[in-house]
């Protein structure tokens, strides 16, 4: 077995180790703690590169596609729970993305979190987060994957609520945890079902794993459908798809590097990765993929419309992430396994770039996040501006930037989406939604850029803004390079990425009309947006032109379709009412009715008793009562309320009973 496969676990282990060491460090040891964490991450990146390089060298022969290293974890009786690590193109790709972006985010945090008093704690959590994500990627077993999945959830909880002194951050961390937990419940049930159906928890195991063709063939169509839908529940929660997307924008309460990490490389990618990992199961029943496609397409459009009407620089990016994740899901769902993952790949870089760029802006503007209070930063922060523009072009899908290639591939696959069991118009929904979404994406990104960088400063925070230090700008430059370079890996028609991920399958031929059409849409959107948000609109105190024109629509979008309010009014209210009812039940029915009721009954009976006593018995039986009283004196000695006394009598009684039994036994 090659060395790298044997030692794949190191990639995930090193960040965990660094987190452990850093957790034990005193608070003042900023340099040492961040140094260890960054060093461990750099080692992980090197190992990931080595793993990817090994796969490249090994070529595309079929048996090397899934290199596994399995081991017995928990033997009990005849059952053995086995865990394992897996190296295949999917995990190699994810390893690179996660470790590369994480490393840059860590370096960025050096600058961004410099003044925070809990600097070491931040790096501990960051390392834990990255480590769990890496473990999730290389897991070759449902159980290990689930453990890492929950660890990712835990560390995101810790990081979103890093500034837990802020009530909004504390609320956001709880919201993120609980919302994803709803999806995880489905995921867990699906996982158990899958384990039960296939009899093993390993994914690949020399032909005996749950995802190996032999095991897949015995999985029935309906079982496969339910398992995939349940697993998809987990992906919906983690990747912020509708209707569980509500936590993602709130997760912006965390420090900006965390947002970059959550939104680019780690947490949200986990859901898409999960669908990619379980793709063979999804493929069995076409309905499963259709569900994925429609949920994704709807989310892509839905979140893009919300992003148009947001004011918070990070919230715009958050909704754009939700929307882009929708694209990825749509890509996977319409049968474009490679295109969905390619978008995940490119998106990780340019979205990390955008988030870190916004972090740099926020840092410069004294933690101001409202784009209405920025403006004119183009000249003050020129390096950030250039990098941000590259990220913005990549996200909008301007030709030759990364997002263009990957989004175009998804649209291409959506164009070829013709499932037999759907009417024609239904199969056109993903491509239509995708194109409208592309228009909106370009529109809101241009709007944001115009507000932030152009015009004149509208607040003194922006007036005194200056370029951030090199720990913050260097990662931006690296990511900007990646945001351009990664696109060329998927050059239409000669996609290296496609060849790496799935050498056997043939990509759809390039459709020139579609490509030109989407280019036109993007350029028009950029132009319209640039035109709308210019001159008067960027003046301080000006109303958003959209708000002026479509006031009520804008309000609905600005309030995110009132979905949070809807949940508040329905599910949360229901839970609250239900628990209140339970408390009432406890207090009044159980405690009130039974306890007090029985007490009252006893009291009433004693009143009746007293009447009978006084009326009937008292007269005639006074004398008898006196003898009873003398008897009671003796009785009182027995019932004196001392537990020891009772015990004494009990043990003596046992002795007497024993003696009695002895005598009776004799006779």
């Amino acid at each position: 077995m090659p060395w790298i496969v044997e030692n794949l676990w190191l990639i995930a282990f090193l960040p965990f180790l660094a987190a452990g060491i850093s957790a034990l460090m005193p608070r003042a040891q900023k340099k040492a703690s961040s140094g260890i964490v960054i060093f461990a991450m750099a080692l992980s990146l090197l190992l990931s590169l080595k793993a990817g390089g090994y796969l490249l060298k090994a070529g595309s022969s079929h048996e090397t596609l899934h290199l596994v290293r399995n081991f017995d974890w928990l033997p009990y009786g005849d059952t053995v729970i086995r865990l394992g690590f897996l190296l295949d193109p999917l995990s190699a790709m994810m390893l690179f993305v996660v470790s590369f972006v994480s490393l840059l985010v860590f370096i960025f945090s050096l600058g961004y979190m410099d003044h925070d008093e809990n600097f070491t704690r931040f790096f501990t959590f960051l390392s834990l987060f990255a480590g769990s994500m890496l473990a999730l990627v290389i897991a070759n077993s449902l159980l290990l994957l689930f453990m890492a999945w929950e660890l990712v959830g835990l560390s995101s909880y810790l990081l979103i609520g890093f500034w837990y002194q802020k009530p909004s951050a504390a609320a956001a961390m709880k919201k993120a945890f609980i919302t994803t937990r709803i999806g995880d419940l489905g995921f867990f049930i699906g996982l158990l079902w899958f384990h039960y159906a296939s009899g093993t928890s390993l994914f690949y195991d020399q032909g005996q794993g749950a995802l190996d063709p032999t095991k897949l063939s015995i999985l029935g169509g309906s079982a496969a459908l339910w398992i995939s839908l349940l697993v998809f529940c987990g992906a919906v929660g983690k990747s912020g798809q509708f209707p569980l997307h509500v936590w993602l924008p709130d997760a912006m309460e965390g420090p900006t590097p965390v947002s970059a990490l959550i939104h680019a490389a780690t947490m949200v990618a986990a859901g898409v990765f999960l669908v990619g990992r379980m793709y063979p199961v999804f493929e069995i029943n076409p309905t499963a993929l259709e569900v994925v496609a429609f949920v994704g397409a709807f989310t892509a459009l839905f979140a893009a419309t919300i992003a148009v009407a947001q004011w918070d620089i990070k919230r715009i990016l958050a909704y754009s992430t939700v929307s882009q994740l929708g694209y990825m899901m749509m890509g996977l769902g319409v049968g474009g396994y490679v295109s969905g993952l390619f978008h995940l790949f490119t998106h990780a870089f340019f979205k990390a770039l955008l988030f870190l760029g916004s972090g740099s802006i926020i840092h410069a503007c004294h933690h101001e996040q409202d784009i209405r209070k920025m403006g004119g930063l183009k000249d003050r922060m020129s390096r950030t501006f250039v990098c941000y523009m590259i990220g913005m072009f990549a996200l909008s899908g301007v030709p030759l930037f990364a997002g263009f290639f990957s989004k175009d591939e998804i649209l291409l696959d959506a164009l070829h989406f013709h499932p037999a069991n759907l009417p024609h118009f239904a199969s056109r929904i993903p491509i239509v939604f995708g194109l409208i979404g592309a228009f909106l994406t370009a529109f809101y990104m241009m709007r944001q850029v115009k507000y932030v960088f152009f015009g004149s400063p509208r607040d003194h925070g922006a007036q005194h803004a200056h370029e951030s230090g090199s720990p913050m700008t260097l990662p931006l430059i690296f990511l900007a390079l990646m945001a351009v370079a990664t696109g060329f890996l998927g050059w239409p028609g000669h996609s290296w990425f496609h060849h790496f991920m799935e050498p056997a399958a043939e990509a759809h031929p390039t459709n020139l009309y579609l490509m030109l059409g989407s280019i036109a849409i993007v350029l028009i959107a950029l132009g319209v947006s640039a035109f709308v948000y210019s001159g008067e609109a960027l003046r301080a105190g000006a109303v958003d032109p959209l708000e002026a024109r479509f006031a009520s629509l804008f309000r609905v979008l600005n309030n995110k379709y009132y979905i949070d309010e809807f949940y508040e009014k329905t599910f949360v209210l229901f839970t609250r009412t239900f628990s209140r009812i339970i408390v009432r039940f406890d207090r009044y029915i159980l405690n009130g009715f039974f306890v007090w009721g029985s007490a009252l009954i006893v009291y009433g009976l004693s009143l009746v008793n007293q009447l009978i006593d006084e009326a009937a018995i008292n007269r005639g039986f006074d004398k008898g009562c006196r003898s009873v009283r003398t008897g009671s004196q003796w009785n009182r000695w027995i019932q004196n309320g001392l537990s020891q006394h009772y015990l004494k009598i009990t043990s003596l009684a046992i002795v007497i009973l024993f003696l009695l039994a002895l005598f009776i036994g004799r006779t």
């Binding site: 009990y76 009786g77 020891q644 004494k648 043990s651 003596l652 046992i654 002795v655 024993f658 003696l659």
Partner: protein, 165 residues
């Protein structure tokens, strides 16, 4: 190897008597620790090593300390008790326990137990397997009980909230 048993038996009975007869509660607790250790020795002599270890951990380690703490929290640290266990009021207690002892010994004297040819031997591995398989449900129940007891103990011992009359 017989003398091991006799030494242990004398040790246990002696420390047990000391534990219940002394007036000073702290001394009682110390004698109790010796008593628990003796019981652990008995388990070892019966080749139940795992139980012996548990006995040391749970009784000598945890429960004895718990009792010491309770003594300190409820008495002055010296822990003198006013009433001797030999006072007049205790006489019936002594009579009762002596009677129970007579009954037990009498019945042991009458009863003969079939002795199996070879004493049973089990290892830690067997115990672990049994806990995970045959006794899995009782195991889970007992862990639930322990959790409940833990929570309950905390709730009970917590300071009551200041009067809300």
């Amino acid at each position: 190897m017989d003398y091991v048993f006799y030494i242990l038996a004398i040790w246990i009975v002696g420390s047990g008597l000391l534990a219940i007869l002394q007036r000073n509660l702290v001394h009682c607790a110390v004698a109790l620790i010796a008593f628990f250790a003796g019981i652990a020795g008995i388990f070892f002599s019966l080749h139940a090593e795992f139980l012996g270890a548990i006995q040391v951990v749970v009784y000598v380690g945890a429960i004895a300390v718990l009792i010491l703490f309770a003594i300190m929290l409820t008495r002055h640290v010296t822990g003198e008790e006013e009433v001797s266990p030999f006072s007049r009021h205790a006489i019936w207690g002594w009579i009762a326990s002596a009677a129970v002892l007579c009954v037990l010994l009498y019945s042991l004297d009458k009863q003969m137990f079939a002795i199996s040819a070879e004493p049973s031997q089990i290892t830690m591995l067997d115990i672990g397997n049994a806990m995970m398989q045959r006794y899995a449900v009782p195991f889970e129940v007992i862990s639930l009980l322990l959790t409940a007891a833990l929570v309950g103990a905390v709730v009970i011992a917590l300071e009551e909230p200041r009067e809300r009359k």
